[in-house]
């Protein structure tokens, strides 16, 4: 059993997290990369089927269910953990490293979980371990944001668990398999639990709240793992749920609007995750083979280019110490390589031809076309335009090209960070020019060809005109020192009142009660020191106060004698 467990990719990473503290510090960063590499090899080579079962109480747990869908997600999760490991190669923070490994282990565990119980355990593991990647920033802001993140995810986990338990008590199967689109309580709870991790508005605010405040390296793992593992679960459980089509479209537009308004570079990228996941959710809602292929391919590509973008944004923060657009500007000449690598990611996410975003966006578009969903196609195109505007134009323009606002003493960016970004950019281009490499890994066989005159004409016209629009109206985009109010307002703003009612008020009440009790005890203690003073206030002897324990030795001896007599009589009657 123990040996068999080592064939589970998630166990390898969690084992890595346990072993890492025992490894000498200078070998630790290499070891960090070794574990996801082993996991990647395993994911690649494992045969299909449910490979490992174990019984727990009266249930049979399936720890390792492999099929083409879980394999492609497993591959990209392991790959991005390796890239993240290279990006974080200069870091000497053990706890951050172990939590990142365990976090990736959680994501792989969810991916290969065959039953709900296994899935839920790994789901929660992800929430707990990722919270530390926010706290590791060690600012007052990140402390609070991490706590909010953890609380929201505990709530989400609770929703999912409630759904699972209701599902089981309704006689549902323990296995993770697609659920009929019936809106009963069990399904609604499960959908909400998954939707929270997929960052579906209004349950999305944790993402844009936490990711910009995470550590530079931690954000790479976060942007890749949590939401995309939830997308995977959504593909598994809810394919073809009609409601998801419009939920996805709303997500795509919603994320775009907030990303356009954001002033923090990583907040732009965080909101753009929500927008991109909108595409995937829409495709899951369509539910046809090509749509699910499109959702999977887009999740895969999204992980690659989004982590590249987060790495580049992290490098800017590393070099300048700020992430705010109102302070950045005019740095392009000093970091040309970084600009180039970022632009590969930015053009990928915008859907420019010959980069990886294009090959999956067109697939989703094709799926929507086949299902005759014309308005979702047009609205998702609006989101594409917006994506190009905020990630492809606003962020790079105001970071690197616009007027210089602050004089920075730039720190040199470590080589390993550049290497990691280079690998990310390589994959963006690779899957963009050779999409069949990706298509052959998708859950359903496909004949889809992304490069047609139609798609090329479509994207070229859209991107060029969006650029022209940006150029003439770029001053209208917000780059002032502001924050955006989002649905986290509902738990952040009333927090002060909630604190007053549920923490400060009981606290003060207890405080008053405590003071009163102590005062009373003090008085009683004083009193019992000499009760005679109260009982016979006028009684004094030879001008001295009478003390309660002021008996003479004679009385003591007499009392002892009386007691002794009782003892003797008692013993005598016994025998």
């Amino acid at each position: 059993m123990i040996v068999e467990l080592l064939s589970v990719p998630a166990v390898i990473l969690i084992l890595g997290a346990v072993v890492l503290p025992l490894i000498p510090e200078r070998a630790r960063n290499s070891a960090f990369i070794l574990f996801p590499s082993i996991a990647l090899f395993l994911v690649w080579t494992l045969p299909e089927g449910s490979l490992l079962q174990t019984s727990f109480a009266s249930y049979e747990l399936h720890l390792l269910s492999v099929d083409s869908l879980s394999r492609v997600f497993g591959i990209v999760f392991s790959l991005i953990t390796i890239i993240g490991g290279i990006y974080a190669f200069h870091i000497k923070d053990l706890v951050q490293q172990t939590s990142a490994l365990a976090y990736a282990g959680g994501a792989l565990g969810v991916t290969f979980a065959g039953d709900f119980f296994t899935l839920f355990i790994f789901w929660e593991l992800m929430a707990v371990t990722s919270a530390y990647l926010i706290w590791a920033r060690k600012t007052k802001e990140s402390d609070k944001a991490g706590m909010r993140y953890l609380l929201v995810h505990s709530f989400g986990g609770g929703l999912l668990l409630t759904g699972i338990l209701l599902h089981l008590s309704n006689g549902g199967s323990m296995m993770v398999e697609s659920i009929e689109p019936v809106y009963n309580l069990a399904n609604i709870f499960m959908l909400l639990g998954v939707a929270l991790n997929t960052a579906v508005p209004p349950l999305h605010a944790w993402l844009a709240d936490a990711y910009p405040k995470a550590t530079i390296t931690g954000a790479i793992f976060m942007c890749a793992l949590t939401t995309k593992s939830a997308v995977y679960v959504m593909i598994r459980l809810f394919p073809g749920w009609d409601i998801l089509i419009w939920v996805g479209v709303i997500m795509a537009i919603y994320g775009t609007i907030y990303a356009l308004l954001a002033n923090d570079i990583r907040e732009i990228l965080a909101y753009s995750i929500i927008s991109q996941i909108g595409y995937m959710v829409t495709a899951i809602g369509v539910g046809s083979e090509i749509a699910l292929n499109g959702a999977t391919a887009h999740a895969f590509n999204h992980i690659v280019y989004k982590s590249l973008l987060f790495m580049a944004a992290g490098a800017v923060i590393y070099a300048t110490g700020t992430s705010k657009l109102h302070k950045l500007g005019g740095l392009g000449k000093k970091m040309p390589l970084l600009v180039g690598l970022y632009m590969v990611g930015a053009l990928s996410i915008s859907g420019a031809p010959l980069l990886n975003g294009f090959v999956s966006k067109t697939m989703i578009s094709e799926a929507l076309g086949e299902a005759h969903l014309e308005w979702p196609i047009l609205l998702l195109l609006i989101a594409t335009i917006g994506t190009f505007l905020h990630t492809g134009l606003k962020l790079p323009y105001y970071t690197w090209f616009g007027e210089k606002k602050t004089e920075f003493n730039l720190s040199a960016i470590p080589v390993n960070m550049k290497v990691a970004m280079g690998i990310g950019a390589f994959f963006c281009i690779l899957f963009g020019v050779a999409p069949d490499l990706l298509y052959s890994q998708l859950p359903y066989p496909t004949e889809f060809q992304p490069f047609s005159v139609y798609t090329l004409v479509e994207m070229t016209q859209i991107l060029i005109l969006a650029f022209v629009g940006f150029w003439f109206f770029k001053d209208r985009l917000n780059t002032s020192p502001t924050i955006s109010l989002d649905t986290d307002w509902f738990y952040r703003k009333p927090a002060a009142i909630v604190r007053k009612v549920f923490v400060d008020f009981p606290n003060n009440t207890f405080g008053i009660a405590e003071k009163g009790t102590l005062l009373l005890a003090e008085r009683l203690a004083k009193l019992s020191k000499n009760p005679m003073k109260l009982l016979i206030p006028s009684f004094t002897m030879e001008g001295r106060e009478i003390k309660s324990d002021g008996f003479s030795a004679g009385i003591g001896a007499a009392l002892a004698f009386v007691l002794f007599s009782f003892l003797v009589i008692g013993l005598a009657t016994l025998f």
Binding site: I257, L261, L389, L456, Q461, I462, V468, R476
Partner: protein, 71 residues
């Protein structure tokens, strides 16, 4: 933006329009394919709509001071 940047963009746009009118004239999978240069129009209008709608929304209620939650 230097002049040659604009020229490259212009050429790309013209090439895409030529391709559209020569290869795709009878492409009828969507209703909007009957509108010439539809994607260029959609791209331009979409861009303007996004810029001004977000600006409006930001002004009305979304954007706030950085210390909003600390007050």
């Amino acid at each position: 933006m230097k002049n040659w940047h604009w020229i490259v963009l212009g050429i790309l746009l013209i090439v895409s329009l030529i391709l559209e009118f020569t290869y795709l004239a009878d492409y009828a999978s969507h209703w909007w394919n009957h509108v010439p240069a539809f994607y260029a129009i959609w791209g331009g209008l979409g861009c303007l709509a996004l810029i001004f709608v977000t600006k409006g929304l930001g002004k009305i209620f979304i954007l706030s001071d950085e210390d909003y939650y600390d007050r």
